[in-house]
């Protein structure tokens, strides 16, 4: 008997992780817009993500639509519970997405769409962090529906996770720019990458120390023998990635720093997955309770088994086509 719900939990988790590490860097580039001045610099930053951001954002649609498709109960509970941060994120993404296209229609040095792009990216990252924090804290459920009010998500912890994700995405964006740019802009990116790296590591440590006390089963996962034996490599690997990250930032070319940052994100994500499992919504709904009937899971899995490898192939191809440093003069829409 194949456990379709478990397979799908893995696939959705993968889609969300793919979203975080891919759209994470282009949101991060947006967040950095407010720290980097000059039209040329900003043009370069924009050009480094313009050909790929569409594809990156599609992973978010897959995460949302996938949740609806295979875990409809989780979708039906999470969305109303996190109504305001999710809408805020969507509106911010709308702003940011149109800024990509509209920015090139304004030729003057001061471009209002730059502010829209920076603001939209920052707010979207912050809202995503709140969604994450809200999920970690848990959602009250009654029967098959959300049982709380529409401001329940607003706590000091969710604000903290919101800020953490902004800092984390800044790290991804800055290391991405280190790999895609040269000269003065690269130096600026390195500086921001270092600051963001310290901030990110601090936030990860704070969240990691706090979460085990939120739910009994979180603590059990992390502090009890023999579970401890299986989970202890995660924080150790984070330390190794942090070392590679600081080393990578110093190097003039290549994507080492970005990959190290991706490693830190992936490990944190695995840490969260260890805490969550087997819950979809901590302490209320397990992934088997949330899953759609097997007949639905199976039908979509057939397609996913064929299509996800193809998608990964042409996504990789598209990154290959646009590999290398961006030139200052390379135009977008003119």
């Amino acid at each position: 008997m194949i456990d379709y719900a478990l397979i799908w939990a893995g696939l959705i988790a993968f889609a969300v992780l793919a979203y975080v590490v891919l759209d994470g860097f282009d949101l991060g580039v947006g967040i950095l817009f407010s720290c980097v001045k000059g039209k040329d610099n900003r043009d370069q930053m924009m050009n480094s993500v313009a050909p790929v951001w569409d594809g990156n954002e599609t992973w978010l649609i897959l995460g949302g639509a996938g949740l609806f498709a295979v875990f409809p109960l989780a979708y039906a509970i999470i969305m109303p519970a996190l109504y305001i941060p999710i809408f805020t994120m969507l509106l911010a993404l709308v702003f940011r997405g149109v800024a990509f296209e509209f920015r090139w229609k304004v030729t003057s040095e001061k471009n209002p769409w730059d502010k829209v792009f920076a603001g939209g990216s920052t707010v979207a990252a912050f809202a995503q962090g709140i969604v994450l924090g809200g999920l970690i804290e848990g959602i009250p459920v009654d029967g098959r529906a959300y049982a709380g009010g529409w401001w329940d998500w607003l706590t000091p912890f969710t604000i903290f996770t919101g800020v953490s994700l902004v800092i984390g995405y800044t790290l991804l964006g800055a290391t991405w720019l280190v790999s895609k740019t040269e000269g003065a802009l690269q130096e600026t990116a390195k500086r921001h990458a270092r600051t963001a790296a310290i901030g990110t590591l601090f936030c990860i440590a704070a969240v990691s120390l706090y979460t085990p006390f939120l739910h009994a089963h979180f603590a059990q996962r992390w502090f009890q023998w023999p579970e401890l034996f299986y989970v202890i490599p995660v924080p150790l690997l984070v330390v190794a990635c942090a070392w590679a990250l600081f080393k990578g930032i110093r190097r003039p070319r290549g994507v080492n720093a970005y990959l190290a940052a991706v490693g830190i994100f992936t490990l944190s994500y695995i840490g969260l997955a260890i805490s969550f499992f087997p819950y979809m919504i901590p302490s209320s709904v397990t992934l088997w309770e949330a899953a759609a009937p097997d007949v639905s899971l199976k039908f979509l899995l057939i397609g996913a088994a064929f299509l996800i490898p193809i998608i990964l192939t042409y996504t990789a191809y598209s990154y290959w086509v646009f590999r290398g440093k961006v030139e200052q003069s390379s135009g977008y829409h003119n």
Partner: protein, 479 residues
């Protein structure tokens, strides 16, 4: 006013608003993506640079529309959960996988190849670039396929049972996807997308034809491209408009079979009649279930719907009152949609006459009419959408799940606040976007200084040998 304070009605308004805004972008990009593919193909076949100039011209407009379509579409995919969570829980097992297939087969295809199509011509060579354009076009069509399957299933559900939790559970996926109204709806929508795009292209071309003929001609303006655009658009109108009218009629008969209440609403019949007339105009008085100021052609209703002068046509009174859809929106919207369809047919025939006389590019009146008709496709599509969606009320899944039983346990103020935010943001942003698109259309197509053969070798694979990487910087700055 009470109507506005209920979460369910606010959620309906929000959905209607965001969909109506969203729908205009995919409709346009479905048609435009296919058009771009044809232009690219023609260029590769004939090596005539005019097609590349046309491609580059419409590419910019495509990007702007596509960007807005993507971001407004992300909103849609989350709205099922935020405002319609009970619906999401119940229909998730059926509609979730279909939307999942849309994302996997369409969105990724579009988004993945869009970068190559827009920026990669010099990097991957002409053939692979054509392939990328084709994949983007295929992605838009595939998206239409799945989303119309979803919509059709809500209209004419099939292939499912209902389990003890009240969820719809699939039994036969083929029956779910190819539900009874799906193919009619798909054909009607794809044709609508092609017509909409044809009229936009035709309108823009007509505008530049008129401007050119007023005198001052800039030598950099590509006259051949303008004429070709107009000619292609008018062929499309002449061929597709009659097919669309035929497809629409077939769709109507299908709706009569599966959703007779909707037909009663859009035909304006409160009472069943035998024989029935065709109501041309009137003002539906829903409280007293009566059509005021009715203008009607006798017998024609029976003839069209029953193909029989004495056929009985059911009115809303044949159904329980609590199941009636609101009549006014579908009734008016239907007349707008059909009216535009016949106007489009008229333009198509007119262009054929002018073409026959060899005056297609000098017919000032035709050009003016084409400019006026440029946005008509969008109006027709939104009207058609009102007919089909308001006509489905008060159900989300026809006869099986009521709209009132589909809504999230979210308080009205939250829905109201997000609705207001959407209205403000959409008008501001998409207003700016549409302004940029119009600005772009205001510019005429020009001759490109870079013809394809700029010395770089054409290859099927996208790997640039080191010897020409130095050239990349220069060629890309012009791309």
């Amino acid at each position: 006013m009470e109507w506005f304070f209920e979460a369910v009605n606010l959620a309906r308004l929000q959905f209607a608003f965001t969909v109506a805004f969203h729908i205009i972008f995919p409709v346009f990009t479905i048609g435009l993506a296919s058009f771009l593919f044809v232009l690219n193909l023609q260029h590769l076949r004939t090596q005539n640079p005019v097609y590349l100039d046309m491609f580059n011209y419409w590419k910019k407009i495509f990007t702007l529309s596509f960007g807005m379509g993507v971001v407004s579409g992300i909103v849609m995919s989350y709205q099922f959960g935020t405002n319609w969570s009970v619906y999401a829980d119940k229909v998730g097992p059926i509609l979730g996988p279909l939307i999942g297939y849309e994302v996997l087969s369409a969105f990724f295809l579009e988004a993945g190849f869009l970068g190559v199509m827009l920026f990669g011509r010099k990097r991957v060579g002409a053939k692979l670039h054509l392939f990328a354009t084709g994949m983007v076009a295929l992605g838009t069509l595939s998206s239409g396929f799945w989303i119309l399957s979803v919509n059709s299933w809500m209209q004419t559900p099939a292939g499912h049972t209902i389990n003890e939790l009240g969820q719809f559970v699939p039994v036969d996926w083929f029956a779910v996807i190819f539900n009874p109204s799906f193919l009619h709806r798909l054909a009607h929508m794809i044709l609508a997308a092609y017509l909409t795009t044809a009229f936009v292209v035709g309108g823009v071309a007509a505008y530049h034809l008129l401007k050119t003929r007023k005198g001052k001609v800039d030598p950099s303006v590509n006259q051949e491209a303008i004429r070709k655009m107009f000619s292609m658009a008018m062929w499309m109108a002449a061929i597709v408009a009659p097919i669309q009218i035929f497809a629409g009629d077939a769709h109507g008969l299908n709706t009569l079979k599966y959703q007779p209440m909707k037909i009663a609403a859009l035909e304006g019949h409160f009472e069943s009649q035998k024989p029935a007339g065709l109501v041309l105009f009137g003002i539906p008085n829903e409280e007293e279930a009566r059509m005021d100021y009715k203008v009607e052609i006798p017998l024609l209703g029976s003839l069209i719907l029953r193909h029989d002068l004495d056929g009985e046509v059911q009115g809303l009174d044949a159904f329980p009152r609590e199941d009636w859809p609101p009549m006014a929106p579908p009734f008016y919207a239907f007349r707008v949609m059909v009216g535009i369809g016949f106007l489009m047919l008229g333009i198509g025939i007119w262009s054929l006459v002018m073409r026959k006389r060899g005056k297609l590019y000098e017919a000032t009146k035709l050009h003016k009419a084409a400019i006026i008709m440029a946005p008509s496709g969008f109006i027709a599509v939104i009207s058609g959408w009102i007919v089909t969606e308001v006509g489905r009320q008060p159900f989300t899944v026809y006869h099986l799940l009521r709209t009132a039983d589909s809504v999230s346990p979210v308080d009205a103020p939250a829905v109201a606040a997000s609705l207001i935010a959407f209205i403000v943001v959409y008008f501001a942003l998409f207003g700016a976007g549409i302004r940029y698109i119009l600005k772009q259309m205001h510019k005429p197509p020009v001759y490109s200084e870079d013809v394809l053969h700029d010395g770089s070798p054409e290859r099927a694979a996208g790997f640039v040998p080191p010897s020409i990487t130095d050239k990349r910087a220069t060629s890309r700055s012009r791309a």
